[in-house]
């Protein structure tokens, strides 16, 4: 009972702030609304018996990726960018197609999803995740670390171009 109240409250928060992201003119307000939405999603993850993933969601998404977004928006002074109004035909088609997609998805979910009886308690603590990550998934783990290295190097190089060429950067 209490679970349901928490679920609906935070689901409403997630949806409302997600709508604010796509509808508000100012990208800074959109970024902060997305942070609130991610926080509400982290609560959803706790309801799904995965507190480790909830903490990771807040640390990685709300605490690092969105900080990156906020930095870029504030440093490039993007709030003064005049975003022109999208062409009305594009807006209409966009809204209608995503609404149709949403209605179709929800309909098929309700019609076809199979509800099983709940199995035993779900062990999802850090120890189990650590075992799984370092035993079964060790190869993707190493590959993702190399991917992150490539991302760091790529971001460094991409953001250097366009500055004074030939000048020695301190």
């Amino acid at each position: 009972m209490f679970d349901l109240i928490v679920f609906f409250f935070f689901a409403a928060i997630a949806v409302i702030f997600a709508l604010m992201v796509i509808l508000h003119r100012n990208p800074v307000v959109g970024a902060l609304a997305l942070v609130a939405s991610f926080f509400a999603l982290a609560v959803m993850y706790v309801l799904l018996d995965a507190p480790f993933m909830a903490a990771l969601q807040v640390i990685v998404y709300a605490g690092a990726i969105m900080v990156l977004f906020v930095f870029v928006i504030m440093l490039l002074n993007l709030q003064h960018q005049k975003e022109e109004r999208t062409r009305p035909i594009q807006q209409f088609l966009g809204f209608v197609s995503s609404a149709a997609f949403a209605i179709a998805l929800v309909y098929y979910i309700i019609k076809f999803s199979v509800v099983r009886a709940a199995s035993g308690p779900f062990v999802s603590d850090a120890r189990a995740i650590g075992h799984s990550l370092f035993e079964s998934y060790i190869l993707p783990f190493e590959m993702v670390s190399i991917l992150l290295l490539a991302a760091i190097v790529g971001a460094l190089i991409l953001s250097q171009r366009g500055q004074s060429k030939g000048a020695e950067q301190p």
Binding site: A11, S37, L105
Partner: protein, 101 residues
């Protein structure tokens, strides 16, 4: 009483479609990027809902890797936007319509 999985799947579908709407209707590059992040999170929620339903840890590990890769993608995407802004002084994606100038 545990929450039935349908509720989570419907929430995930709604968030995904809000993200799709954002990508299709906005012209600001950063806002499009944020809508993509919203879509990725909706998918994360679906993975975790099914992980709890089937009692398997593989869903959690998937979400772990999705978060790591989304972080890498966000870094590179924002670096591309910075480079675009320095060249064209705008991040309106409709203006970035030449392959080479």
């Amino acid at each position: 009483m545990t929450i039935p999985i349908n509720y989570f799947l419907i929430l995930s579908a709604v968030l995904f479609c809000i993200g799709v709407c954002g990508v299709l209707t906005r012209r600001n590059g950063i806002t499009i990027f944020m809508s993509i992040e919203l879509m990725i999170n909706a998918v994360n929620l679906t993975f975790l809902a099914y992980a709890r339903e089937l009692g398997s840890l593989h869903g959690l590990i998937f979400v772990f890797f999705i978060m790591a890769i989304a972080a890498a993608e966000a870094a590179i995407g924002l670096a591309i936007f910075i480079a675009l802004y320095h060249h064209r002084n705008t991040i309106d994606v409709d203006e970035a319509n030449l392959m080479h100038w």
